[in-house]
Subunit: 256 residues, 2 copies
C-alpha cells in the first residue's frame, strides 16, 4: 500500500531570493497587490508568500491596508534615502536644481547613468497637472535625450563603444540611431560643454543638458526640458551650465 505523499522538488531559489521576489512583485503600475496577485507575480505558492509577507510586514518592508492589500512599506522608502544616489547626490544637488528651476521655470531634471541607461534621480516641475513623462526612477535611453547624451558623451571611450555596438531604438523621426551621426553629436557636446536635444525621444520635447563633473569624471547630468516645442530653450543654457558646474564643485569640496 503506497500512500506516501510526494513532495515535489523545491525549485532552485534560496529562501532569501524568494523573499526578495515578493518585494520585487510590485511595480509602478501595480503599487498595491492582494495576496494571490503577489503569489502569482512572484511565482510562488500562496502559503509561502503568506508567510513571507507576514515577516516582511513585521519588518516594515510591506504594509497591509484594511482590505488586506499589500503595498511596499515605509521602511523601504527610508532605506532608499540612505542609498548613495539619494543621500549623497540628490540631497546635495537639490538646492542647485531648485535655484535653476527658480531661474528658468522649466522642468528641471537630474539623471545618472546606471548600466546602459540613464535614471532620473530628480525632476522638478511647477506644473500641477502631472505629465507622466519622466517619472523619478524612470530609465531612459542614453542616446535619445539631452541628459542621456551628456552622460554618454563624457563616459570613457570604452563604454561609448559598448553602447554604440548595441541596437539603438528609434523613438521619433529625429532619434539619432546612426552610429556615425551619434558619435559626431557626442563630439559636439564635448566641444561646447552642453547638449541640445530636439524631439529625439518625444515629439514636441526640447531639452538642454550639462554634465556634472567631479574631478573631471562624469557623475550626473542636469537638464531642463519643455514638452511644448519651445524653440528658444537654449537661452537657458548658461543657467544649466552654471548649475551643473556649481554642483560638480560642491561635490568635489565635500569629497575632498
Amino acid at each position: 500500500m503506497n500512500n506516501e505523499v510526494v513532495y515535489p522538488k523545491n525549485t532552485s531559489k534560496s529562501v532569501t531570493a524568494r523573499a526578495l521576489a515578493v518585494l520585487g512583485a510590485f511595480n509602478v503600475s501595480e503599487p498595491s497587490l492582494t495576496l494571490s496577485q503577489l503569489a502569482r507575480i512572484a511565482g510562488l505558492p500562496i502559503p509561502t508568500v503568506f508567510r513571507f509577507a507576514g515577516e516582511l510586514e513585521e519588518g516594515g518592508f510591506l504594509d497591509r491596508d484594511d482590505a488586506g492589500r499589500y503595498s511596499l512599506g515605509v521602511k523601504l522608502w527610508e532605506m532608499g534615502l540612505l542609498t548613495p544616489v539619494h543621500g549623497h547626490l540628490r540631497e546635495i544637488a537639490m538646492p542647485f536644481l531648485l535655484n535653476l528651476q527658480y531661474d528658468c521655470r522649466e522642468i528641471v531634471q537630474l539623471a545618472v547613468r546606471d548600466g546602459v541607461d540613464a535614471i532620473y534621480v530628480e525632476k522638478l516641475t511647477s506644473e500641477e497637472s502631472v505629465p507622466v513623462q519622466s517619472r523619478i526612477g524612470a530609465r531612459i535611453p542614453l542616446h535619445a535625450t539631452g541628459v542621456g547624451k551628456v552622460l554618454l558623451a563624457y563616459s570613457p571611450e570604452s563604454f561609448i563603444e559598448v553602447v554604440m555596438a548595441m541596437q539603438l531604438p528609434r523613438y521619433t523621426p529625429e532619434t539619432q540611431t546612426n552610429k556615425r551621426a551619434l558619435a559626431k553629436d557626442l563630439a559636439v557636446i564635448k566641444a561646447q560643454g552642453y547638449a541640445k536635444s530636439h524631439q529625439e525621444y518625444l515629439v514636441g520635447s526640447t531639452s538642454v543638458a550639462a554634465p556634472v563633473l567631479v574631478n573631471g569624471v562624469i557623475r550626473a547630468s542636469i537638464g531642463i526640458v519643455n514638452y511644448a516645442a519651445r524653440e528658444d530653450l537654449d537661452t537657458f543654457a548658461p543657467s544649466v551650465l552654471r548649475a551643473a558646474n556649481a554642483l560638480g564643485r560642491r561635490l568635489e569640496e565635500i569629497e575632498s
Copy 2:
C-alpha cells in the same frame, strides 16, 4: 572518545528576518559598511552575513564598491519610489511645494504622521550649505514643531489622548510639555486653520504650518521654517494655507 562537534542552538530568528537584519544594519551616519561591521551590527556570524550579502547584492539590494565596502543598492531606492508616501503623496505634492518655495523662498517642508511621530517626506531649500536640520526621512516629535502640531491637532481625539498620555520631551525652554497648554495650542490651531511655532524644537527656529485635508481627514502637513529667528514669517501664512488647501483638493480629485 568524544570528538563530536557541538553545534550551538540557532538563535530564534527566521532566515528572512536575518536577511532583513543585514539591510537594517545601515543608517544615516553609517551609510557604507565593511563585511565585519555589517556582521557586528546585524548581530550575525560573519559567514552568514557573507552569504546573505552576496544574495542581496545579486538582487541589487546591496552595492559593493571596489574596496569591498557595502552600501544599500539602487533597487532599494527604486522600491522606495513605489511606496505610497512617495508615489502617491510626494509626487503629487511636489509642484505645490515648489510654487510655495518660489513665493516665499523659505525652507518648505512636507510631513506625514507615522506612529507617534512625524516624518519629513520632503524638504526644499535653496540654501546650498546643508544645515543638517530636518533631513528627509527624519522623525520629529508631534508636539514641538509646526508641522507636527498641525498633524496632531487634526488627528482623531482618541489619538491625541494617546500622545497626551506620553512623556512629552522638552527640547527648548519654549517646548510645550504641559498637557493643558498643548491642548489649548491645538484648539487655537484648529480655530485659525494653521500653526505657528516659535523655537519650540530648536532655538532660533520659527515655523508656520497648515494641514492637508482630504475629505476632511488629515493626510499631511505643509510648513515653512526659518532658522534665523525671523519673526515676521507668518506674513506667509496665506501662501502656506493656499498650498495645503490646493494639495488637499488635488488629492481628493485624484482619489475620487
